[in-house]
Symmetry: C2
Subunit: 255 residues, 2 copies
C-alpha cells in the first residue's frame, strides 16, 4: 500500500436515499466505484454513523479490504449546511494525515457527491494545497439529475443553495432569481430541508410569474420519487403534494 | 411491455470516455442503470453510431433485451453545441412516438447525463408537455466531478457553457465572470472543445487576477485524466500541459 508516495484523496459518491428506505446500492453506484470504496481503510466523512452504514452496504456486494472496526473514520468539522465551513487550516491537515502518510483516503458525504451542495470542499482544497492527488469517482448528483429531468436549459444554470427562511426575504429572493433567470436565460436551482418542502412549494406558486417554468424533483433515484416541470400557471391548477421527508430539488427558468 | 399506459422517458447516462480509450463501462455506470438501458428497445440519441457502440458495451456486461438491429435509434435534431436547439414542436412529438405508444424510451447523449451541457432538454420538455413520466438515471456528470475535485465553493456555482472564441471578447467575458464570482461568491464553470483547451488555458492565465483560484479537470474518470486547483499566480509558475483531445472542465472562484 505505502511505497513512500503520498496517498490520494478519493471523492466517493453516496446513494441519494439517506439510508432510509434504501435502494440496492448497485442501482446507483458503479461496480468499479464500489470496489475502490471497499479497498479504502481511511475515511473522512460528514457523519460517522451513516458512513459505517454505507460501508456495510458496500461490503454486502464487494468485500471490504479490512474489517469495519479496523477502518478509521474521521468526521468533517460540523457546519450547518448552507453556512460557510469554518475550521483552522491545521484541522484539515490533521484530517489529511493518512494520505500524507501514504494511504488512499476516502471523502464521503451523506448523499451524492461530496463537496457539491455538501461539506468537504475545504478538505479538497487542503489536499490540493498539500500536493495530494484528488480523484473524483463517478456517482449520482441530485442537482444534475433534477436538472436533466426538468427539461430546462442545461447549457446555462446556477445552483444557489438554500433560500432565506423568512417569508418576505424569501419572496424577494425568488423575484430576484426569476429576474436573473430571465435576463441571463439561466436555469436557477435551489434546495430546501425536506420538512420545509411544502412551504417552499407554496411560496414558489405564490411569488413567481404564471409563465415561469418550474421543475420539482423529489426523492431522485428512489422508488417513490417523482418529478414534474410545467409553467407556474399549470402548477397552480394542480399543486404538488410535497412529502415532508424526501429531499427535493427545485429549478426555475423565466421566459 | 405495453399495457395501454404510456411509456416513460429514461435519461440514460453515458460514460465520459467518448468511446476512445474506453474505460470498463462498470467503472462508471451502475449495474442497475446498465440493466435498465439493456432492456430498452427505443432510443433517441445525440449520435446513432456512438449510441450503437454504447449499446454494444452495455450488452457485453448485461444481455440486451433485443438484438441490436431490432432496437430503434432516432437522432436528436442537430444543433451546434452551445447554440440554442431549434426544431418545430412536431419534431419532438415524432421522437416521443414510441413512449406515446406505450414503450419506454431512452435518451442518450455522447457523454455523461443527457440534457446537461448537452442536447436533449427540448425532448425532455416535450415529454413533460405530453404528460410522460421522465426518469433520470444516476450517472457521471463531468461538471459535478470537476466541481467536487476543485475544492471550490460547491454551495453556490454556475455553469456558463462555452466562452466566446474571439480573443478580446473572451477576455472581456473572463473578467466579467471573475467579477461576478467575486461579487456573488459563486464558482463559475465552463467548457471548451478539446482542441482549444490549450488556448483557453493560456487566456485564463493571462486574463485572471493572480489571487483567483482556477481549477482544471481533464479526462475525468479516465486513466490519463488529471485535475489541479490553485491560484492563478501558481498556475503561471507551472502552466498546465493541456492535451488537445481530452475534454476539460474549467472552474474559477475569485477572492
Amino acid at each position: 500500500m505505502n511505497d513512500g508516495a503520498p496517498g490520494r484523496l478519493l471523492l466517493v459518491p453516496n446513494t441519494l436515499d439517506h439510508g432510509s428506505d434504501p435502494v440496492p446500492i448497485e442501482a446507483v453506484l458503479a461496480r468499479g466505484v464500489l470496489e475502490q470504496a471497499a479497498a479504502l481503510r481511511h475515511w473522512v466523512v460528514e457523519d460517522a454513523r451513516s458512513a459505517r452504514a454505507f460501508l456495510k452496504r458496500v461490503g454486502a456486494v464487494t468485500p471490504l479490504g479490512a474489517p469495519l472496526q479496523e477502518i478509521t473514520i474521521a468526521e468533517l468539522p460540523r457546519a450547518r449546511k448552507g453556512s460557510g465551513e469554518q475550521a483552522p487550516a491545521s484541522a484539515w491537515t490533521a484530517l489529511l494525515q493518512p494520505a500524507l502518510a501514504g494511504h488512499d483516503l476516502g471523502l464521503l458525504s451523506e448523499a451524492g457527491l461530496p463537496a457539491v451542495a455538501d461539506p468537504g470542499a475545504q478538505l479538497v482544497a487542503a489536499a490540493h494545497e498539500a500536493g495530494l492527488r484528488v480523484l473524483p469517482l463517478a456517482g449520482p448528483s441530485a442537482l444534475m439529475l433534477a436538472l436533466a429531468a426538468s427539461g430546462l436549459d442545461g447549457q446555462s444554470f446556477a445552483f444557489v443553495g438554500y433560500l432565506p427562511q423568512e417569508a418576505l426575504a424569501r419572496e424577494r429572493r425568488l423575484r430576484e432569481l426569476e429576474a436573473l433567470s430571465r435576463r441571463q436565460r439561466q436555469t436557477q436551482l435551489f434546495i430546501e430541508t425536506p420538512y420545509r418542502n411544502a412551504a417552499l412549494a407554496a411560496a414558489l406558486l405564490a411569488a413567481l410569474q404564471p409563465s415561469t417554468r418550474l421543475a420539482i424533483a423529489c426523492g431522485l433515484t428512489l422508488p417513490n420519487g417523482f418529478n414534474r416541470c410545467c409553467r407556474v400557471a399549470d402548477w397552480r391548477r394542480t399543486p404538488p403534494a410535497m412529502p415532508d421527508r424526501l429531499p427535493a430539488v427545485f429549478a426555475l427558468l423565466a421566459d
